[in-house]
Each structure stands twice: as structure tokens, then as C-alpha cells.
Symmetry: C3
Subunit: 472 residues, 3 copies
């Protein structure tokens, strides 16, 4: 049986008993998923998922970057290449059963990784498989899962309910018509699927297609996005449109945490260069920096929570980017400064108690050195959870062990699953709940917290903090 009921709890029996009791008190709480990348079309259309490979392997960076690191090509995994005419295709696509077998043959690569924990959870809890996947049972897994995916209980909306999800946020470009969210608002289904405003395509001058995006932004809003005033007004209108489709938060994925606080005139001059396509790399960085501060101003005005996650070197693998496009698992973290980078924005808004800014990091050295001291001081700042490469049990524990001493629990915001792998959402929240309970059990067994306090905090971390921080 791959899923032991005491998994991830401390080995020492006393601490384990505390962890188990804490976990039992919160394991049934609804899932708050305020930051993720699932496809709203799934819930709008409610069609069966295509097959196990298309559902669980092909779209999951975590899975195929590991297979790729051991010499398995994207084509073998069924990914479509980008041809010279910009058409996507795979001349000789593998059957999904072949992809699945390849995955099973290499399932040992995931030993010790969070992917293994999530996959075992999905296989066992969602599909009722009671073995560990391996070469010899790959076909059984495939056919059993494929069979279930055709049943009503495995349609997206049914799974949403079964997963006990209270709210699920997706992430969309400002240019997205939000048709699926609109459709979901108009039908009689109680599931709450909201959008998140992710403006990177229209605030990052180095984003592919930026000039076209500016133009489209103008068309969507009736604003002259060739002027800075028109551009800002267009953004305000799209934020309003997103608010109408449930958004309570914005999300900003920048290479660095740089912010700027230019005068309106300086900002307009900079925007002119950006809009005309004459911006240098330094101009682009400064413009992104300025836009974080502008976004903070708009958040003060419209109440949207602001998420900043800097520090990823995107599309690091040139060959892969050319042949398979962006977001293929080759984003690599870099050292990230927050202290100097955020100062211009904090000088302007740092003491505003109405503003809520959630900081993420891919550079764990910032936890104790920069992020906890900043969030443990500035009223507008909160810390996002251990995330992306760091949402492993070890990473979550490092987060608590390095953040709590200075920022406490109340300057953190609960868990984000941050996933496009819908079926793994319960697994990911379950891992976090178990690790948080293990951490709290450690504090209890070292007599740093009473058990009564630990029960309260476990509830807080699993549910309340996320609702409050994201204004849900």
C-alpha cells in the first residue's frame, strides 16, 4: 500500500501522535486554492479528460523535466514541436499508452521527490490503485484510470466537489476574454472558480508579442494604449473586468523584484520608448519595476491583493525554447534581492495597512535574511508559501524553520498548490497539511507551544490564513 496513514509525520512516537491528532483535526477542511494554473475550460465544458497520459504527464513540468534530464525526449512524451512556420506538431506522435509505459518504466526517478508523493496519492485516493506504479503494472494502471475517466464521477465538476474545493483561482492574461469564467457564472453549479489578473504579457516589454498585446489591450478597452495615460486606464479597466469575474488578486512573475517610483513625466517618457519598441534591456527592467509600483497603486484603489514572484530565469534551455516553446520546465531560479529592490515601492506604500502584497521566492536564502525581516515589519507585506521547486516536505519545513522565528505564523498566507495538474490538488494540500502538523508537533514536543495552541494554528495554516490573505 503506497499511502501510509502516518506518512510525513515525525518518526519519534510522541511527536508522531501529536502530529496525527493535529492532522486529524484539519484534514477534512475545505481546500482553498488561491493561486494555480488549471484550465477553466475543464469546469465550463465538463468533458471527460482525454486519457491518463494527457491528463497526468504531458502538461506537467515537474514530471517531464525529470524524464528529460535522464535522456527522454519531449517527442517521446508526446509534446508537440514548433516547426519553422510556427505550427506545432509531432510527425510521429506516440500513443498515450506508450507515453504511459515510458513514465512507468522511469517511475523510480521520482523516488524522494514530491512528484512521487502526489502521484501515489492520485493513484491511490482518486483511482483506487493499491500498488506502486512500475513497468509491469503500467498497462493495468492505464486501463483502470482510462476506464474511470469516462465515468460521471470523474468529470471535472464532480472531481471539484469530491476534492472538497471551496474556491479555485486560475490565472489569465489581461487579454483573455474570460469566457469560461463568464460561462461558469451563468450556470447553476456551486463550484467557485475565479480568475487572477496576470499582466506580464502587457507589462513586460520583453514578453513575446508585447507590441501586439499593447494593441489588443487598447482594442479591448477602447483606450489609446500608445499613451501612458491610456495604457494605465486600459489596465484599470481590465482589472475591473477581472474583478467582475471573481478575481481578488493579481500575480506578477518578474525576473527580479525590482520596483521603481518614477515621476509621472519620467514614466511617460519611458513608456514611449517601450511602446515604440526602442527600449533597451535596462529600459525594460526599469519599466517592469515601475509597473509593480503602478500595480500597487491600483491595488490600493481597487482592493486587489498583489502577488510578486521574482527570480526565475525563464526558458533557460535555448534548444528547447526554439523547438518546443516557452514554459517547458527549463525555468531556473537565480539569487534574488528583495531589500533594495522593493524599497522604492515600500517607500511609497509600505506603511499602507489597506494594501496586501504577498511575496514569493525561489531563493530560499532570502527566507531568514530578507523576507521574514521585511514581512515581520512592513504592514503591507505577507509571505507566500514554499513554492515551485520548494513545495517538497523538506522545502516546506525549511520555510517554517526559517520564517517563523522572525515573521511568526500570521505574516504567512497558508498554502498555494500553484498547479496545472488538477488531480494533484488534494495531494498537494494534504502534503502541506501533514508537514505543517509535523512542524507544529515538533514545537509541542519541545514544549514551545501548548497542544491547544497547535490545534488553532493548524486550522489557521490549512484554511483561515489563505481566505483572509486573498480576501476570499
Amino acid at each position: 500500500m503506497p499511502l501510509h496513514p502516518d506518512r510525513l509525520f515525525p518518526a519519534e512516537p510522541g511527536a508522531r501522535a501529536v502530529a496525527r491528532a493535529l492532522y486529524n483535526s484539519i484534514k477534512q477542511l475545505p481546500v482553498i486554492s488561491p493561486h494555480g494554473h488549471t484550465d477553466p475550460a475543464w469546469f465550463a465544458h465538463n468533458l471527460p479528460f482525454a486519457n491518463p497520459a494527457a491528463l497526468l504527464i504531458t502538461p506537467d513540468h515537474y514530471v517531464y523535466r525529470m524524464l528529460y534530464s535522464q535522456g527522454i525526449s519531449p517527442a517521446q512524451l508526446g509534446l508537440d514541436a514548433v516547426a519553422e512556420d510556427n505550427q506545432r506538431g509531432n510527425a510521429n506522435p506516440p500513443a498515450p499508452e506508450q507515453v504511459w509505459q515510458l513514465f512507468a518504466d522511469h517511475y523510480h526517478l521520482f523516488q524522494g521527490t514530491p512528484t512521487r508523493l502526489w502521484m501515489d496519492h492520485v493513484f491511490s485516493e482518486v483511482f483506487g490503485m493499491n500498488e506502486v506504479l512500475q513497468s509491469s503494472n503500467a498497462t493495468t494502471f492505464y486501463t483502470t484510470i482510462q476506464d474511470q475517466l469516462q465515468r460521471p464521477a470523474f468529470l471535472p465538476r464532480a472531481l471539484f466537489q469530491q476534492f472538497n474545493i471551496e474556491v479555485l483561482a486560475t490565472t489569465e492574461s489581461p487579454l483573455d476574454p474570460l469566457a469560461h469564467h463568464g460561462a461558469l457564472m451563468s450556470i447553476d453549479w456551486p463550484g467557485r472558480v475565479i480568475t487572477t489578473f496576470r499582466p506580464d504579457p502587457v507589462v513586460d516589454p520583453e514578453f513575446a508579442g508585447f507590441a501586439n498585446n499593447l494593441h489588443t489591450l487598447g482594442e479591448l478597452t477602447g483606450q489609446d494604449t500608445a499613451t501612458y495615460g491610456g495604457y494605465l486606464e486600459a489596465l484599470r479597466r481590465r482589472r475591473h473586468f477581472f474583478r467582475q469575474h471573481g478575481a481578488t488578486a493579481t500575480d506578477h512573475g518578474h525576473p527580479t523584484a525590482a520596483t521603481a517610483n518614477l515621476s509621472p513625466t519620467q514614466a511617460a517618457v519611458l513608456f514611449a520608448k517601450v511602446a515604440q519598441g526602442t527600449a533597451s534591456a535596462e529600459d525594460a527592467e526599469l519599466f517592469r519595476a515601475q509597473m509593480l509600483t503602478e500595480m500597487a497603486q491600483m491595488s490600493v484603489d481597487d482592493g486587489m491583493v498583489m502577488q510578486i514572484h521574482p527570480g526565475s530565469f525563464r526558458n533557460h534551455n535555448r534548444w528547447l525554447y526554439i523547438h518546443y516553446g516557452r514554459d517547458r520546465g527549463a525555468d531556473i531560479p537565480t539569487p534574488t534581492d528583495y531589500v533594495r529592490a522593493l524599497k522604492p515601492m515600500l517607500d511609497r506604500f509600505g506603511n499602507n495597512t489597506d494594501l496586501q502584497i504577498i511575496l514569493f521566492t525561489l531563493d530560499e536564502t532570502a527566507y531568514s535574511r530578507e523576507l521574514a525581516p521585511l514581512a515581520g515589519h512592513y504592514p503591507c507585506l505577507r509571505l507566500g508559501p514554499a513554492w515551485w521547486f520548494h513545495d517538497s516536505p523538506e522545502g516546506m519545513l525549511r520555510y517554517r524553520q526559517q520564517v517563523t522565528e522572525t515573521a511568526g505564523f500570521y505574516n504567512t498566507v497558508g498554502f498555494n498548490d500553484d498547479t496545472r495538474a488538477f488531480l494533484s490538488i488534494p495531494a498537494r494540500h494534504d502534503v502541506c497539511r501533514r508537514v505543517d502538523c509535523a512542524y507544529l508537533a515538533g514545537l509541542v514536543s519541545q514544549h514551545r507551544l501548548s497542544e491547544a495552541e497547535a490545534y488553532d494554528i493548524a486550522h489557521l495554516l490549512a484554511y483561515d490564513l489563505a481566505k483572509k490573505a486573498y480576501r476570499l
Copy 2:
């Protein structure tokens, strides 16, 4: 009962028994407090502390930065603002009982933090309270503490004795007349309260009031501090004056660890710019760098131990700095280089076995990468303890786990409480003693040390190393 006798020991019963035995062997050792920020006037005047809020909350950065991070204003906590005429005041100051209630209402913010450990210790061990502070018992806490503060046993000198403090170092500016230390030397009280020479106000050209400070330094010493020679001689004389008031150490809080080794001519030219107020930011940094090396030379000459703690971005919150002044809990750590920064000074003095330089860090990544390798090689270097944001149980454990492998125990210097919260001194030393014993118990239970060795090392860490390193 908030204080469990086994707090902070490992959960596993075997290791816990070892930790408890080690701790019992050293818990009664006198407190050596070689680096801190208590007010010598307390001991010179020996007057009752004003009230619980003024004693435990208002002066403690650790406490009010956390309350501030959750939206409580400095004014609500009784801090005086700086008006435009530079006068400090609080038009509508809260009663100390109100401040105390606010603190109690938010005591949950400190769950999991070292402040919680220290406060629980003070409440329980100093004032005999046997509950955890909360909204409903805030008044009882206040009145009980306030009542005790009026009694002779709670006067500063009585507490000093009760706390079993063998020596307590305070920290003063070179311009300080050391009147309280002088008074203490002339009275019949056995408590040893010594000063520490902290020259930042006269060696940092960017320190507020630097020009006036230079002038005052000249007046105090009869030297012409407009010349480099006169300036250095003035510093030598103030060091001598501090030595006469018990100082065995200097303390240097610089933005970076940069050192320089200019020729006398270059240094004099640089000083001229600094003295005339025409130094650029780069000049100021170079001057601070040069002054660390000059201070090392003076330490070679007069035997004072040198403490360097770089890496804090001071007064990061502009609004708070303008309205409430410096040192208000908004100092944020930054990445800190030691390897290149210290080389000029080490090229000159690194192999001098008479010199003792104690390095601190706010950038924990330097522990295993830079500081332990440097201190595990250069005879003049020792490592200060986990400190400031990192004097939590987790931070102390990270320190031992990252430093010992390369620097051993003998290149470390025991514990610093580094506090202006006098009543928390026993609590802070107790936490460190417990964590060190827990760490040693781990080594014993993994059969890396014999128990006999662990007893010796526990004594060393709690007492001997600090006395030896600070030449006390």
C-alpha cells in the same frame, strides 16, 4: 504552566535524557554577557523600572516590529514621534495599561518566535506568573508585575545579582562621558558592568551628525580632529578612556564587511574629504573600510577585542525613519561578502596571534561558505554566535550545524544576548544553553562524541569561551 523543564530538548527520549543531564550540569553557571545594549544608568541609579509596558514593550524592537507588521501603529505603542522642529512627542500618549492590553491581545503573533520564549520566561521565572499571557489576564499580569517592580528585590542591582550575572557589557559612543560606568566604579557594589567602544558615530561619515561628532571628539581629547593624525590620536585616547572604564572590546556595525589598507598618505587625503563633508558614498564606504583596519592596528596595540557585525540595511522604512527616528526595528539584513571584503585587513593582520577579531553575520549563507572556513584558518578570527534575527532555537541550531564541521567549537565565542531588554537576559542565555545541550545530545546519541566530552563542551559554550574570547 508555560515553562516546561524539558523545553527545547530533543523529542527522542534517549537524546532528551542526555540533553537534560548536560543542561543540569551547566544551568547554574554565571552569565557572561559580553555584548549588549542595556542602560548603565539603571545600575548607577538603581531606581525602580517605570512600568511593565515601558520596561518590556516600548524599548524592544523585537516586540514592536511584529505588532507593527500587523497594523498596530507606533503611537498606539507609546512611541514618541519626531516633530518638524525635531522635538519628540506623542500628542495623545496611551496609558501604559492600554499598551499592555494591546500587547496581550496580540500575544499570539509571537507563537513560534524567540520573543515568546523570552517573555514566557520573564513572566514565569522573574514575576511568578503561571499562565500564558492573553487578553483576559492582561490586567492581572500588569498589576502583578507593576506591584513587584516597586519592591527592592526588583531594583536593577538586585535583579543583576539574582540573574547571576558575572559581567555585563554595555555599548557606548566614543563621545559618551561614561558617567554611569564611572559612578559604578566608585560605589560599593560588586556587580561588574563594563562599557564597549562603539565608534560608528565618529568613523562612519554617513552617520547623522558626523561633522559635529568629529568636533566633539576633538574637544573631548584636546586633539585637532581636522587632521588625520589628530583624529587617530583622539580615537586612541578615547579607547584608553574606555579601557579605564572596563572595556575589553570594540564593536563595529558597518553596512558591509569591507576593509581597506591605504597608505598613510592616501588615508589622510581621504580623511580630508570626509572631514570637510565632501566625501561621496564611495568615499564614505572606503573610509569605513580603512577605519576597520586602523581599529585592528589599535587593537594590536591596546589589546581590545574587535567585533565586526556587517550586513544590515539600517532604517529601511523611510516613513518610520522620518517620523520616529533611527533604530525602530526596520533594519533589514542583506547578502554579505566576507572573503574579498576582509582580505585587505587580513593581509595585514590575519596571522597575528595577539589580535582577536570576532565576526558576526546576518547572512546565514556565510556560515558554512565563508565564515567557518575563514575562522577555521586565520589565527586572529573567531565567530560570534547566532545573533539578532537568528538567535532563535532554529537559528542557533543552524549555526552549530553549519559552523562546527569546519571551525569546531574552539573558534566560536559562546553566547551574546545583544539585548536592551535587561529582564530577558537570563531567558536568552537559558535558551542558548538548552539549544547547545540539545545539539551536543544529538552528537552523543549519534556516537560522535562521548558523554564526558559533551559535558566539557557544554561548560565551554556556556561560560569559558566567552570569558576567554572577550578577555574578561
Copy 3:
């Protein structure tokens, strides 16, 4: 008895039992030592080691840097100084017995360090001493060890067999005639001692004697090393020569991980400056960067595994360098970027599944932030083990805890002892095997791996991965 059979296993009895069982299953596996610095002359000549001090203290950086840090001079330890005429000598050399006594008198300095673990292992397992070394038994240790060193069972080849070493790699300059390896190939002894190609002396323009080295390289190969083409061909020929002497790997110790991908013309122009001695520091860095990429090309061609270990500030202590020469324990790690630094080389070869590049670090912050994400994606990359300052039990555990979540086990390469202390090789592998089993026992006791899986992985980490990664 200094060596407990359960040393380094977890304290909790359940996890300890798992660790013990895992360890017992792999402790007898042969030692694969693919990266180290032992002297091949020992095995070629098979003469007795001179004495305990010359064998265990004088050549070991780990040992004497710690003694030096506490004020013991290199001369007291028997090191030869470099006089002004470049002759080495020690006017008044201590007797080896004196050096040994000094070491014993200071053996407490190593408490908590890996050196202590290795030394205790050597004393107990190799020489049968059953006490911890101290001042009072120093003479007994010395004479007992000295006596044994004269016996046939303690000759280098006999120890090699007794240590169960399957293959041992040494490291040589491209200018080395490999006479000892040649001799070993021609004799009837089954021990496998291979060389490793370490080209720093001829690819680093800042290496002492670089110009002479270029010249010698030309003479050795009959190539005109004043031209870039001749230089590259000379390197190819020396690689071939090393391959003939068993080498399967190259080793590159650069100040940074910088790589470059210049055009052939640009590279030739740069080489001309380097060869003529007119290269600036920036030129030298760029040349080293270019040479990593050239070496990768040669590895694609000849199949040699490439090891890169950047980030050491070499010979940091100026006085020591002047008076005692290079490699005296004063190499200090520095922050090291991999993401931007490696990109030029990865753009060219990153997706080549025939190439194997093993990355090392002295900057542990790169484990989770850069190295695991890079190795968990690029097919050519693998991660070298915790190493140098970080091959302590704590360092090895940090490595697994920060690398596994993203890179798994299969993107790592097993253990390197990296030592010139031949007698410590079994001790070092034993420590790593124990720590890896302790780590795996933690995963098993948290129900993240089955015991059956853990047995397989323990075998993999102790033996298979090293053989495969180094193509042995």
C-alpha cells in the same frame, strides 16, 4: 571505544534499526574512488610510509588549517617554508614525534568535525587503537602506528587491497609523464589506479608558470602551442595519453563557473593575448570560460566525463602563500553563480545525451536554487556529492535534503573522497554510506519510500552511481 557500530544513525530506535539494516546490506561493497589526490608513486613503489606525522598530519589541509587557526605555526607542524631563492626548507624541523604530540595535545579542536570521525576510524580500524587520542597516549599511538607501518600488511598495495578499493583515481597535470601509472600498468598487481586529466596549469592564464607550461605542452606533443590550433591539438593528444593511462574523466577547478562560446576567430585572438602574456584579468577569466566549452567539445569527441568545481578563492592568506606556497588550507569558498555562467556551454551542449558533466559546489545555497533545477532538467548534467568543506555528516545530509526533491537520486553520482589522505579513504566512504542510510531511513520511517526501495537506493548511492557516472 571510539567507534560505536551505530554511529551516525538516527537516535529514534525505529529509524535507527532501518538505517542499521540498510547499512549492513552495503557496508561490504567495494570502494569506488573516482576523484582524489593520492600519490600514484605510493602504489608504484610500494614503500613503507615514513612515519605517522608525515602520513597523517603534514599533508592534510583539513588537519593543519585547524591547528593553524588556534595559533600553531606551519613550522611547528613540520612544513617546509619557501625561502627567497625559492628553495624549500625548515631550518629547525621538529621531530615527527613532536609534531604528533602537538596534534594529540590539540585533538579536542576536532570535536564535532569530520576529521575527528576519519581519524578515529583510521586509529581504530586500520591500527587497532581502542582509545581516543589525547596528550597522555600520544607516544603509545605514535610507536604503535610507526611499528605497524613497517609491516608488509601496511604497505600501500596491501592497504589498497585491504580497503577493498575497486578503482582509485588520482589527479595529474597534463604535463605529468604519468610514469607511476605507466609502471602500474606494466606490473602484475590487480589494483586499478587510474589518472584524471586536470588541465588547470595549461588552461588558466593566471596559473603560476603558465607560459612555461604552454611551452612544455608543445614539447610533449610536438605541437606549436603558440597557435590556438596547435594548442587545442596538444590538449587533445594529452587527453588521449591520459585515456591510455586509464583516465575516464577530466577535472576543472576554476574560480567561477563561467563558460563562453566564442567564434573560432574570437577564441584565436584571445588565445594570442593569453599566449603572449598580455591578457588582462578579464581576458584570463574569458579564456578559462572558453576553455570549459572547448573541453566539453573534446569530451563529446573522446567520451571523457567532465568535472567542474568552481568557487574557491585560492591561497587567500597572502603571508602563507608567500612563505609556504600554494594549497596550504587557505582556499575559501565564495558565492557561485551557475545559471548564467553555464548558459553558453549549455546552449551548445546542454541537450547532448552523450556528454556527462558533473558539477560540484562550495556554495551550498546553489543546491536547491540552481544545481538541482539544472541537473533535474539538462540531460548532460549530474551533481557531484557534498564535498571539501561540506563532506561532514551535516553537509551530506543538507545535500540530500536540498537536492533530492528536485533532482532525485539518479542525477547524482555517488561519493567522492577527494582526499590525499590515503588511509582515510575507507573512513570517508563509511561516513557517507552511514549518512546516506540515515537519510534513507528517515524517508522510510516517514513512509515516503518502502524498505525494499531503500535497499536498492542504498546500493545505488554506495556503488552503482559512481561507476556509471564516471564510466568505470
